[in-house]
Symmetry: C2
């Protein structure tokens, strides 16, 4: 087998990572916009959820032609963001450039292209020549009305990343900004983040030439970012991470390991092939109370399932968000106990 | 440096590749649709161009979570396809799933989302509540009218690929179908195809576990597919390949090497950072005549440049397609000489 994991030297700590890798050029600008957004939500009394979505890239060259990527269209994040908005949350939607976004996700250029449902007519009295095909009008009117309302009330803020480096710097900065919300902040970390990266210091400047041989890539491990997120950057936020596996046997053990290691509130486990209709919430048995530093040894598993045969239009993210809203509520109210 | 090329064993020939790697599941269906399309174009007397567009992936696992990718939004291919249609060609648009497509490319969800230019109004006498913002009407009407005409006349056929394996199997099959067109077929190979792949036999079944160490990947070289394309699959088509480099010094030497090695008609060289306003056509000095087996030793370079400061709406693909239309014309008429 050509792809193997081997131990090699010391993995990067988060501290070493940020001391040696460069921030993305727009970081300061992005952060100040997030600060404004959060300030407004605090003033208006809204809870805020950070939704991360889509895959991260690992460029192999400084002038990027090739990169490693993680499979993710961004469906989970984009869909969940809509239900969080519906539930009254303000949403920071931090997504991979060109991955699906809330609202426009209903009109993917590949599967439901909007040009297919616009008609050209003779000009009417207002000079309009383009109309929406009757069969599409109701859904589009619904999506469009919600979209416009969300933008008018200013409850959705979008940020984009491409590389795993962009993602790590943004996550650190945004989570620090969210710490002013205390327990009213929810982290919904649905992005498919690379476990590996190529330190800037080891990258080739130009496109790797194919020459006559095979390609060898050796990558370092990405620091475990949940650790400082939970312990330093945002000590009070309710933190939900995701675990995607293709081997169903690994789903629950790996989710438990993550909770033990990082001490956060929920891991949502999903199997690559069943993720559209089945997920499992894994949490420490005492998840509504503040965790002490002791590692949890008892866990609760809650399965959420939908039946697409019964209701093809139902999206599992609706039930995920409802369940999380209740748990977040309990987390907020457990503070004084 | 962690990414290196080294010689190792014998690279895969095209023959070995197709004998050991599996075809994509929809191949037969895709090919029979292409056959119908080509048959109709022959009957209606149109030239046909195969446009390939977007990057290919190299999955690292059989149940894919991680993959290597080549940078490409598909702008060159999608834009060129529109100009080929305008020039009277029938177009087979073979593109990476979710990469840009002709016509819808003008309305990217990230940069020009269509939801932003639809207005909700009180219902008119026909019950219409949605209209197009006045400032967007002219362009949309133009795009939409052309889009509908293209679909009505049946001159655009779209195929999708994801992996480099999909791409190779599709390219072989489609080029064989195009051989019935003789010199009336044009190949415009703008896709960013990986030079490396992981043979199925070496792939990990499940998601690679990150464990405690670094990731090592060793990939094999993709066979040089232009060789059998030119020599076996489609001996008469006019073949244009692309060379993308980040080091300007390599552009012309590498384009010449490709022409010498494969014996096709044009390499369009483009630098990653200048590709929107400058490309170079490299061709053998005798490119309108049938090539004998001798390697060309004299080359002609033709630069095509546009000035975005003069005309921001101008797209370089318009000039690329005009130049290629003339060369293809000469290629067709040189047959009897």
């Amino acid at each position: 087998m050509s792809t193997t994991s081997e131990s090699s030297g010391t993995p990067f700590s988060a501290e070493t990572y940020f001391a040696t890798q460069l921030p993305p050029p727009n970081l300061d600008q992005d952060v100040s916009r997030v600060r404004e957004f959060v300030k407004r939500q605090v003033k208006e009394g809204r809870r805020v959820v950070l939704v991360t979505s889509g895959g991260t890239t690992v460029p192999l060259e400084l002038n990027v032609v090739r990169f490693l990527d993680n499979f993710s269209a961004g469906t989970r994040g984009a869909t969940s963001a809509e239900y969080f908005l519906k539930a009254g949350y303000a949403v920071i939607f931090m997504h991979r450039q060109f991955s699906l976004q809330p609202f426009s996700r209903h009109y993917s250029h590949s599967t439901h292209p909007f040009l297919d449902f616009l008609d050209v007519n003779p000009a009417d009295t207002d000079g309009h020549q383009i109309s929406v095909t009757p069969v599409e009008q109701a859904q589009l009117l619904n999506v469009l009305t919600t979209y416009k309302k969300v933008h008018q009330t200013g409850v959705l803020h979008t940020l984009t990343f491409v590389t795993v480096n962009d993602y790590l710097w943004l996550l650190r900065a945004v989570s620090k900004e969210l710490s002013v919300l205390g327990r009213n902040a929810l982290f919904y970390l649905a992005a498919a983040v690379s476990d590996f990266f190529l330190p800037r210091q080891k990258m080739s400047e130009h496109k790797i030439q194919s020459g006559k041989g095979s390609l060898h890539i050796e990558m370092d491990q990405v620091p475990k970012i949940l650790k400082p997120l939970v312990n330093e950057w945002t000590r009070e936020g309710f933190i939900v991470s995701f675990k995607l596996e293709t081997d169903p046997e690994l789903l629950i053990p790996k989710s438990r390991t993550a909770l033990s290691r990082y001490g956060h509130q929920v891991v949502i486990g999903n199997d690559l092939h069943r993720r559209k209709f089945e997920v499992v919430f894994v949490s420490p048995a005492n998840s509504t109370k503040p965790l002490d530093d002791a590692q949890p040894s008892n866990f609760v598993e809650t399965w959420i399932r939908i039946d697409p045969a019964q209701d093809p239009a139902k999206e599992i993210e609706e039930d995920i968000v409802t369940e999380l809203g209740q748990r977040h509520d309990a987390w907020i109210h457990a503070l004084g106990q």
